[in-house]
Symmetry: C2
Subunit: 241 residues, 2 copies
Amino acid sequence: MKKQPLAANLDFPRPYTTVDVAIFSVAGDALRVLLVERSREDGGPFAGCWALPGGFIDIERDADLRHCALRKLREKTGLAAGYLEQLGSWGSATRDPRGWSATHAYFALLPAAAEPRAGANAAEVCWFPVIGKGVRVRLAFDHAEILAAALERLRNKVEYTSLPAFLVPKEFTLTELQRAYETVLGRRLEKSAFRTRVLATRLVEPVDKLRAGPNRPARVYRLSNPGAPVFFARPFSPRGK
Amino acid sequence: MKKQPLAANLDFPRPYTTVDVAIFSVAGDALRVLLVERSREDGGPFAGCWALPGGFIDIERDADLRHCALRKLREKTGLAAGYLEQLGSWGSATRDPRGWSATHAYFALLPAAAEPRAGANAAEVCWFPVIGKGVRVRLAFDHAEILAAALERLRNKVEYTSLPAFLVPKEFTLTELQRAYETVLGRRLEKSAFRTRVLATRLVEPVDKLRAGPNRPARVYRLSNPGAPVFFARPFSPRGK
DNA sequence: TAAGTTAGTTGCAGTGTGCCACTAAGTAGC
DNA sequence: GCTACTTAGTGGCACACTGCAACTAACTTA
């Protein structure tokens, strides 16, 4: 009988459990991710290394995993998430030198206009531009792998969902929305097909405003149903080509 | 300073950590999921209740989460998984009456021919037909929710991937493969479009055999690249209609 | 008034699906 | 051997949406 005596003894060793959040936003025409610098004083691993915001679950305060992720987000940015999705979990004996650990990873999208780091110890928090499958700095733990997975999921979903709508301000023009798509995807989209798709799905509705500028003003839109992403029938470019 | 002294003291309470696996296969033209009956003797919660196979991570034996899921699969079925994918994680203060717990959920697909429960305590293990978003029995913990999520993910992915190829034997006819798709989806597909799609993506390659029967024999195929699922350019029915 | 820039529309070809009809190849019954 | 039946597999056409490209619209600046 190798079975563990479940109720009789729950004191066998448990993994460390953390929650990490990859927080994205766009600035100019670059996608960027929020990173925190790990303390050099507390004696923890990867001191001074950049990492995804996150940390241990607080059993007293966090009702569930999602609340824990929202708390991490709030602590680092002082903002409510436009969008928060569970990404997956990473757990192994070796990812943390202190012992067997598992992290529950989330990714979040913030609107461009939002000014972050409002509520937190700002010196340790910084936006890094996303280049290819990650950032230029070395990340703590397996966070580079987690970030790469987040980017892959994000870029994949952008092909057939309205996720980039969470990266633009509440009111936006269709061109601005298209730019958000292109920033995430790293490639240009066809204006005509983009507009047809967006307008056909009732994703957005016009606001009675025009965005002035040095040329023809653009109609301003907002989300018809903020909070819920829309799924399109097909990806943008039929993957084959 | 509310910060936890990370390295100084790692002894703050940690959640229980488990791994659960939703194991699917097809029998006849029904989709079914493998469940285990929880012990009535060990004093654990939900005694006698049906549950997804799973349990605590064994820090000594499991190198990482995926290995732990593979171990659960092996212990319950005696079989190697045709396909194993991480589904997500569920964690909260209330899902387990013993305290804060988090589970890492996976889902697995087994080929139809495989005879399960070979290596395990068979009396406690049983296939249940999937009806709608779950099974007819009440499940332990939040496993009904996890199973519903697994079914949603599976049915969603079937629309644009070759996942059902992991539900048929190594060699199969195109009609058999199409039946597997239809069984998971719960609706009929167009023969012509199905064959065009499958043959256009080099998902399968013909074996030099014919499947005899009381009518015209069918050509036998196998996967060109077993192990890796194929992604199609579009879902089967453009979701709008 | 002309040039430049961005907003937004229109038309057309290509691609893959949904639908339906058709042919192909075997068995079973007479 | 012929016919009926069943399943395998193919071909044609309409529809929907994308990709591409050319066009018009509206505003600013020189």
